[in-house]
Each structure stands twice: as C-alpha cells, then as structure tokens.
C-alpha cells in the first residue's frame, strides 16, 4: 500500500514537471528594416536560448544518468521520490539506446543472508516496475540480487549500511 502511494506521487510529480518545460515562443509580425533587424536579433537570441535550454536539459539528463545507484530505507523496497527523475532519465536512455538494463539489488548486513537475498531482489524489482511504467520493455530488464554479499562499503556501521541498501543500474 505504502509503495503504491509513493509511486503515484512520483508519477504526478513527473507529469507536472513535463508540463512546465514546454515553452511558447512569442512572435509578432512587423515590416520595417530596423524592426526586421530587431526581429532577426530576437530570433537569434531565441535560438540561442533554445540551444542553451537544450544543452541544459542534456546536461541535466547526463547528470541524472551519472546517478546510477538508488538507495533504500531499512527493510524497505519503496522508491524514494528523489529518485523518480533519475529513473525516468534511465528509462529514456534504455529506450533510446536499445541497451538492456541490469538492476543489481543489494541489502545491508542486518538480518539473515538468505532473507536479504530476497530483499535485494524485491528492491531491484521495485526499480524494474517503475522503469516499465516509463516504457522500458520487460524483456530489456534483467534483475539480479546479491543480498548482503557484495557491500559497497564493507564496514559494519550505520553509514555503511546506508550505502549498502541499494540498487545499481547497469547497461549491457
């Protein structure tokens, strides 16, 4: 129940974000040379702005794609809202590149190893479900759980555990 509510919020946030990003270019028809020059200049500026916006968007996506680890709360497989944009970007990349996504699920060391293997898979499947919502086909998603066996940080403390409760997004 908790998970589906978070997912819904995430989708709503993503949709409103998409709505904001569409822009309406302002255009006015005039016939003097000065006005034409000004218009040309305005057009050039608009184009530059558009290019800058596109570049910013490219950089935003690239930054999101750089983020390839999704972290989780203790004994929990719900995706925090902060990762929705990241996963949307990865879904977009998976679709445009045609590459297969490999989702590696991990758990911290607390609790038993075999249960944690199942928990790691549940986390990876939770990420897979959101990526499918963004249009990645099921056949292009591979889920592998490592449970608590492959920690990102081998220390035995709260800081390490936070780093270890994760899904790593990889491409094949």
């Amino acid at each position: 129940m908790k998970r589906s509510v978070q997912l819904l919020l995430a989708l709503t946030a993503a949709l409103s974000l998409a709505a904001c990003s569409t822009t309406k270019p302002e255009e006015e028809q005039v016939d003097t040379t000065a006005q034409e020059d000004a218009a040309a200049q305005a057009e050039a500026e608009a184009l530059a702005r558009q290019r800058a916006a596109e570049e910013a968007e490219r950089q935003r996506i690239a930054a999101l794609l750089d983020e390839n680890v999704i972290y989780f709360d203790f004994d929990d497989d719900s995706i925090r809202s902060e990762y929705v944009e990241v996963l949307e970007a990865h879904a977009g990349y998976a679709k445009s590149s045609g590459k297969s996504v490999v989702l590696e699920g991990h758990a911290d060391e607390r609790g038993t190893p075999e249960y944690n293997l199942a928990l790691g898979e549940r986390r990876a499947k939770s990420v897979a479900q959101l990526m499918r919502t963004y249009g990645v086909s099921d056949s292009n998603i591979d889920v592998i759980s490592f449970g608590e066996e492959s920690p990102a940080n081998p220390a035995h403390n709260e800081e390490a555990w936070q780093e270890n409760r994760r899904v790593e997004i990889k491409y094949q």
């Binding site: 060391e109 607390r110 609790g111 038993t112 190893p113 075999e114 249960y115 293997l117 199942a118 928990l119 898979e121 549940r122 889920v143 592998i144 759980s145 490592f146 449970g147 066996e149 492959s150 081998p154 220390a155 035995h156």
Partner: protein, 454 residues
C-alpha cells in the same frame, strides 16, 4: 551474574606459527562456574622404533581442550595434578578423590614405526566403584585389580601423523559421552566462508575440524559464496555461488572436489537444505515471480513447488523426521517463522514474540528451534521450545546471523560482528557458555556444523 566467569581467554588452540593459511581460533569469552572438574594427565611417550620422534601433537591436551570447549568441564591445571599415572595399576584413587574430580584420563602414546602410533587411554571415575567396564576388562589385558571397577573408558587406537588429532577428538567424544550420557561432537567439522578482500579470489569456502584446526580451502571465487550446508552423510557440501554472475546452487564432493550445478533458474537460487535421508533438497527459487520453497529430487532434478504466497518465503530447515520444514516468511508483514507439513502443505505460524524472527533451524531432537531474533534493533540468537512456545535469548552479540547447531544439540555456531570484524561465535544451547572464533586472516561467516562423522 556471579556464577559466570567472564572474559577468560583460556585457549588459543590454533597453531598460528605453523598456519600457512587462514584458520579460526577459539577464545572462551564466558565460561560456566559450575563446569565439572576433570583431570587429563599428560600421556606417557614410548617408542618401539629406532628413530624416536615425538608425536605431532599433544594427545592429552587435545582431549582437555575439547572438554573445556564444551563448556561442561573444567580440566584441572597440569601443575595441580597430584601424580601422573599412565596405567590403572598406578592410579592412587584417594589422591584423586581428594582433588574432587569427576573423572581422570591418562594414557600412553607408543611410536610403533616412523609416524605411526598406538594410543591407549582410560577414563576412571574415582568416586564410582561400580563403573561399567568389568566385562571388557575380563577379556582384556588389564589385571583384575580393585581399581579397575572404577573404569569408564578403556581404549587402544592406532593413529598416524595425518589422523592424530582426529583420533584425539574421537577419544574426547568417548570421554564426554561416558561422563554426560550425551554423544560428543568434537570429531566433527565446520564449513565456513572466508572473505579476504586482499586476495584476487576473496570469497573462499573452508572446511575445518570443530576446534578450528586442519582448515582446508575447498573452493575460491571472485564472486560471493553463500549458505554452505552439509549432506547428511557429510561427504558433500551444497552452497550458493555467484561465479556465473548470478546465484546458482551447487553440490561439491569434499574428497574429490567434483562440483555439480543443481539449480540455475531465472531469478535467484538459494538456501539449499538437504532432507534427512539425503535424497531430496528443499531450495528457494524466485523463478515464478517471488521466492518460494521447492522440493528438488536430486536423482531426477524434478521440482515440486511447496509454498504459494506473494510474500518472501525462504530459509527452510527440515524437521529431523523429514515430515515438515520450518521457514522464514514475511506474509504477516514482517519476517516470522512458519512450519509447513509436506503431506498436505498446511502452513502454521511458529513464532509470535518479537517483530523479526528469521533463519531458524530445528534442534536435533526436533523439540525446539533456534533462530535469529530481533529485539530493540539488535539481532540475537534465540531458542524456542515448540511445546510451550517459550523463547529464550541466548546471546549478547547484536548482529547475529547464519546459525548452525552441533549434531548433538549442545552448541550453536553463528556469524556475528565483533570488534569491527565479521567473526564466528559459539554459544551453548542454554546460553551459559560463549566463545569467539575469529579468523587469522579476513572475515568469516556462514558457518555450518557437520553431522556426526563416522
């Protein structure tokens, strides 16, 4: 807790200087003040061979260390022994009664040829003149003197350099059984996973004797190894390996090293548990969407699905009679222990105390279970009586997991974190005796105690 002696690092029985590779050491961290006093007299050494060579190990010391490590006995310091008899006619019963020991062990190691030894040893009860061996003594070589009626164990064994320690563990088992009425579990082995991040193949599967000696690496990998478990005849180990990029279940023959992959399905393959008769295994597969228990017939590799629930079902452990299993499931919201009957697949919840119980195993008598129990955010080993439902927390360590029970039900070995390292630890079934078993190199986890080996 006055009756508990704390933090006595009594025995460090690993030959660190000689160990070319990792071994585990055993430190007793919490002993019992009511441990029974026994005396193990240093054995006499004799040689029939022209070239005299001392035996590779101290037979009597191995026995004494085993008895101490059981938590039930407190061997007397050698300097406090009243005299050193080597045979029954030398025993001065009055002196041993005065010392107040429940048993006296003495013996002789005779070198018969280079590297070959004949070991004779006895156990006597100085207070019991109606001990059990009069019939054996009649047809044996011992003279029928009054002292012989105190005999509880009378043995002669032939050993060589390779099985010298094993012979001493068997002797310790015989002495333990004579004194307690319970079968000893010293002549057994422990399998465990060691992680040494400096090694190019950091994940290593070891088999060692129950005292940590004779550690042999039987598999090493660049990828994780999980859940080792013994076949009922203790000739094979099953475990989970990630060597092909994802979890698979293999069976490895310990003597030959031969390996066979028995489960490599889509999703994960985990938690193998051999049936008591060795013909089947219950495994946990997520191939049908989420983790479920499956019965795997080893001869045919045929699968039969046992559980059917959208929750996590894992960590199966067979009842000793082979008719039911306990397993972990979070079908109630949080992980708890459930029991499934094989006949009708009926599932009942077993644990109700605490919000998180997992990784449970039946005790060898089938009357109880031992599990990982979370209380106030800490993970402890706990035992539950199946008839009364009463749960007892046994450990003070806080990140316990991967428990395994000795085949005589006396001791539990488990994995925990201590001093910033993953180490093995042991606790007696009553929780009153505790030991720490760190590795000489790296971290150790996933211990599995072998069945009786004979």
């Amino acid at each position: 807790m006055k009756h508990i002696l704390k933090t006595i690092a009594i025995i460090s029985i690993s030959l660190m200087a000689l160990a070319s590779k990792a071994e585990i050491q055993i430190y007793i961290t919490e002993g019992r003040s009511d441990a029974r006093p026994v005396a193990v007299v240093p054995f006499k050494f004799e040689s029939e061979s022209a070239v005299q060579a001392q035996p590779p190990f101290d037979f009597a010391k191995i026995i004494a260390d085993d008895l101490r490590r059981s938590g039930k006995f407190n061997p007397t310091e050698i300097s406090k022994l009243p005299h050193h008899p080597y045979s029954i006619d030398q025993v001065n019963l009055e002196q041993w009664r005065k010392l107040g020991v429940d048993g006296v062990v003495y013996g002789t190691v005779t070198q018969t040829a280079s590297g070959n030894y004949m070991v004779s040893y006895d156990l006597i009860d100085p207070f019991n003149d109606k001990a059990i061996f009069s019939a054996d003594i009649a047809d044996g070589s011992y003279p029928l003197i009054p002292t012989s009626s105190h005999l509880m164990v009378l043995k002669t064994k032939v050993v060589d350099n390779d099985n010298f320690r094993w012979g001493a563990h068997i002797a310790a088992d015989e002495i333990y059984e004579a004194l307690t009425g319970e079968r000893g579990a010293f002549a057994t082995q422990i399998a465990y996973v060691e992680v040494n991040r400096n090694d190019p193949r950091p994940y290593q599967l070891f088999v060692a004797d129950s005292d940590g000696f004779n550690a042999k690496r039987i598999f090493a990998s660049r990828s994780p190894i999980m859940s080792p478990t013994w076949s009922p005849d203790s000739s094979q180990l099953s475990y989970v390996t990630f060597e092909n990029g994802r979890s698979e279940i293999v069976i490895q023959d310990i003597a030959s090293g031969q390996r066979e992959i028995v489960a490599s399905y889509k999703g994960f393959n985990s938690a193998p548990a051999w049936s008591p008769d060795g013909s089947n295994m219950v495994v946990v597969l997520s191939k049908d969407g989420n983790p479920e228990l499956y019965l795997l017939e080893l001869a045919t590799k045929r699968l039969q699905r046992l559980t059917r629930h959208y929750a996590i079902d894992t960590e199966p452990s067979w009842a000793p009679d082979g008719k039911s299993l306990i397993f972990t499931s979070d079908r109630g919201g949080r992980p708890q222990i459930y029991r499934i009957r094989l006949a009708d697949k009926k599932v009942d919840r077993v644990t109700f105390e605490g919000i998180h119980n997992a990784g449970a195993e039946f005790t060898p008598d089938g009357k109880g279970i031992v599990m990982v129990h979370q209380a106030n955010g800490s993970y402890h080993i706990a035992a539950q009586d199946l008839a009364t439902g009463q749960l007892t927390v046994l450990t003070k360590t806080t990140l316990d997991e991967s428990l395994s029970i000795a085949p005589n039900g006396s001791m539990i070995i488990y994995s925990t974190v201590d001093g910033g390292q993953k180490v093995l630890s042991a606790v007696s079934m009553d929780g009153r005796f505790k030991a720490r078993l760190p590795a000489t190199v790296g971290e150790v986890k996933a211990p599995a105690w072998s069945p009786f080996i004979l």
